[in-house]
Symmetry: D2
Subunit: 344 residues, 4 copies
């Protein structure tokens, strides 16, 4: 039986090119076709010299039959490109937000377009393997989670599911600049972003509804009320989320010992989640698919502090997408994702 | 009448050398004596080439009569050096933590030493001009606030004083690496600190009791319950604090409009506090004594978000110390602190 | 007698806004008018929050009578804007390259336009005070040097003028990213520029003809043959140039002692040039108008190594322009430029 | 036949821990023993959280029989540790400088110790596979090249060997801060190294004699006269060397076309050397074993400019060491080194 044939739509953004990097070393797939409107006709290696050894030409559209497609298109355009593929029987993993939210009305509110296929929305599986592994295995269409939601949901899922906290949750996230993408902007101009930190999207970041949807589904009684504030900090890769919530009265009576047990139990068999013994840094995930989680209790105030770290382009995008593909095709879940973090 | 004669104890740390930089350009003072045990006998200009034009030799002890001394010693040592100076009639501004806390028992708990002069603790004034200007004017001994407390207290003072929030407060602070000082450590080694972010001092940072003392004194009814988590991010200078609290029922009924009014009223005549119209970045304060504050309301959850930015070495240390000196000596409060932020 | 009235054309680039920062604190000038096509109608403080305290509106064209204009326009457009001003009797300091080269044909070769006023080219003075102070004092039009040429010419002028080296000169320059300007490009996108260094403009950088013109004029016998290679490195500000040349046979027979004497003599009375005792770093110039020069000899190979450091936006642009203005108006040469470097 | 058993002496420096990272993923080896005096008794995963999945304890001395040892000790100590191992029949790859120089007197001059085994010096092979592959295959002891020499020798070997240049060579190298190691120093303190560039070791860097030895051996007629100046720039990983030399009269008469042909011929079958079509950046090598080389000619001055980029910890240290091991054991030369550069 041959290798799985893979295509990438919009390889020219950071998520797309990270997919290419990882897929080139995946032992069981063959990258066959990569698209990118602005760079169509150019060699992939000319646009991205770190991929110099690979002989692929960027095309305007998929030009080879493939078994699975990763879409790294912007939202709305991604849905339009994906729907016919799914209908043709191609498996699809969508890096965009277009199939993450179950409520089609949310797309009008948060993304300002009418969703073209509410039916397919319902069918799509939210691709966080730690929560939805078996549904992913059977899915035709997987909606790969956003980078911030990956870090936040993995941090909070155990305490939310077990009902250990009060509903009020603060998520204070710090992201490296690659999270803002490869498109140019003053915010991501080197001289502006270096030696600087700022919060943004105070009115409401588009990743908030994903977070509330997934945490809400874990515990329909709790009804989490989430304040999520993202910050841009001067590094290329990485997200660290600091999550805060009050302990519910009568819960975690043994304190940190109980809390750590909840986390080690919840993630016992997960290949990419590690409960750490000390406060982790994003550098410990650089280039890898790991999510590090450090649960703590501020006993002075009865507040849970959960810290999580990921590489936003790997576990927060391309790596998780490949993890999903591995599950969909029955491969080893870590295939192609074995690289250790590059330190320092 | 001559210029004010100034001494700096322990000029060789970042706060000390920043004092020297600013004082050299202060129109009404003369820097007469700078000490530093490890560098005693060397020219200040040899140790710090950016001060190359100034002819001062670092000595082991103050070797000139001075009107005012800034102490940038580590805690405990600072108190020991300062007490005799105050008793001799020299005005002192202490950059260390040794006279910030009113409760002498707190020194045993947080700093692990028995405070040598609880009486002088009571006399010392907490040198945050926006809260204690008139007491500073009359003080013999001013305890210069910590960098994190400066950012956090200025962010929260208006809503705490007016009783607009519930007691549970989250302060999530992000600091540049100079805040960890000039002493070497693996945490501040370039290859470790670059491309990295991590939370630290989860067990309780020493700046927490300052924050609770000052916020508590602003509103004895509210009894704030503060969770404070500092993070180290890859930049040299700057602190951004993101502060969260629930709005008290029935308060701020006009929302953001009310909130902004509270802040503009509270800081109406402050030379160094600016209420900004947009989410600020620390780069907008680089090298200056400004504190930028951006008040916001997450209306989805009824949560106040207050963001503040300072340069940790200026408003967070040396600049604020000079502001205090200006007040103590009846000078223009901004004397020597007129420099605009260096951007980009 | 009133303050000098000043205008800035194109305040919205990094050189323009740095001029505004410095001029706001200059004791003898008043900034009256700032232009910027793309931001016309906006408050300067809205576009650049670090200038929040100043009440100026950006206009499309100069809207106030002024005594002197700084032009920070791109080349070609700058000449067009400047020529009528000079003809009207306004003194002009041009930050662009439009009046730096004496040979009008060079504009066609290097900048791809026919120079509109070869006569005014001849009249304009190359604004490097260390070489042309007296001509600057009498000039109507000063051509402010490029950032790389400032660092390279100051490094090499003494040995070239004295004829101590062979003609073959290598200039290897490392620049911070602000040197590439505020206009967006992939090269200056944070995630591309961070953790990266690359050489550029190998075919010939536009600053080369300035360097050869000025070094050539210092010694018409030597006929310097210059290879100049600029590199972009991950910092906001600063240029370090490492300059190499063989010692001419029979020169500098006392080695480094002779060489240092040549430099200290050449720059004896210069307010902004310092000959350092140790290898300098660009951080020692951050935010200041200083140029640090470290002359050295590789005795193994008989090669002179001259290292120079500047802040590319101050001595390499806005600061030097103000230094030129001070000379043109008979002010103290350091007026408005007294700030010490911001370290660390 | 089983896996090759490997030990690392001094795993706690950056070269040592990078070896561990790469060896854990090497398909044909098993890492059995890692030493480190300061951390003896601790779990490797506790000291280096990015290696969390591996269960090895750091010991004071090698505690398992191994087939090959990598020594990442400091110089002098490395020789002392290695000599008995070689004598016992263990193959050794020495990351230190202790067996790189053929002339034992050079150790006194450059490293200030008398070499303990001039005989073994002669036997040791300089481990640059592109120059000494067949000798490496037969070696008992391989001296892994320094990071700067790797970048400089690979850049210059083709033109030196072919005698295309004059003897005077300038090598201007820019290194990321990890090159200075994991030991603490003020130079590598974050707040000092960020936003800064400086040259160092002007009196002569210890990597110079390696460069002259290897270039000299390539062409005994040419007698290269090398000026080598290293610079520290604010990034974690990477070295870019810019190399300059005059073209010898009558050589390269077809200019760049000839020059590129020389390089593509010289490195035709090399798995890790790429001749690039455009000026490369170090980011294109991040985490990988590639060396990128860009040959160019400044036709104005008849100067060759050769630019090379490597990751100093991979091709400049651990990766090259593994490449050498692969050659010594007859494995695929790229085994364990297949990872693509991590971009951005």
């Amino acid at each position: 039986m041959g290798k799985i044939k893979v295509g990438i739509i919009n390889v020219t953004g950071y998520a797309g090119v990270e997919l290419a990097r990882l897929l080139f070393r995946h032992p069981e797939v063959q990258l066959r076709s990569v698209t990118g409107r602005s760079a169509a006709g150019q060699k992939l290696a000319a646009v991205f010299p770190h991929l110099a050894d690979f002989d692929l030409t960027i095309t305007a559209d998929l030009d080879e039959p493939v078994d699975v497609v990763f879409s790294a298109m912007p939202h709305k355009a991604s849905a339009e490109a994906i729907i016919p593929l799914v209908n043709k029987g191609v498996k699809v993993i969508d890096i965009s937000a277009d199939f993450r939210l179950k409520d089609s009305a949310a797309y009008l509110a948060w993304y300002e377009f009418a969703h073209p296929s509410p039916g397919m929305l319902k069918e799509a599986v939210y691709g966080l393997p730690e929560l939805h592994r078996s549904a992913i295995a059977d899915a035709r269409l997987v909606a790969n989670p956003g980078c911030y939601p990956t870090s936040a949901i993995l941090a909070l899922a155990p305490v939310v599911k077990e009902g250990l906290i009060e509903p009020g949750i603060i998520i204070d996230s710090k992201s490296g600049v690659s999270g803002a993408g490869r498109a140019l902007s003053l915010t991501t101009h080197y001289a502006e972003a270096s030696d600087n930190v700022a919060a943004y999207s105070l009115k409401g970041h588009r990743h908030l509804p994903e977070i509330t949807q997934e945490l809400g589904a874990l515990n329909t009684v709790l009804q989490p009320s989430v304040t999520f504030l993202p910050h841009l900090i001067p590094m290329s890769r990485g997200i660290l989320s600091s999550c805060y919530a009050k302990i519910k009265l009568g819960k975690l009576t043994n304190g940190l010992k109980d809390l750590r047990q909840v986390y080690t139990d919840f993630y016992r068999n997960e290949p990419f989640v590690r409960i750490t013994d000390a406060s982790p840094g994003t550098k410990q995930t650089w280039g890898s698919n790991f999510c590090l989680i450090y649960p703590y209790i501020d006993t002075r105030t009865g507040t849970i502090i959960i810290i999580s770290c990921i590489d936003n382009l790997v576990k927060g995008a391309a790596g998780q997408a490949i993890q999903n593909m591995n599950i969909m095709f029955g491969l080893g879940e870590a295939a192609g994702l074995e690289a250790l973090p590059v330190y320092p």
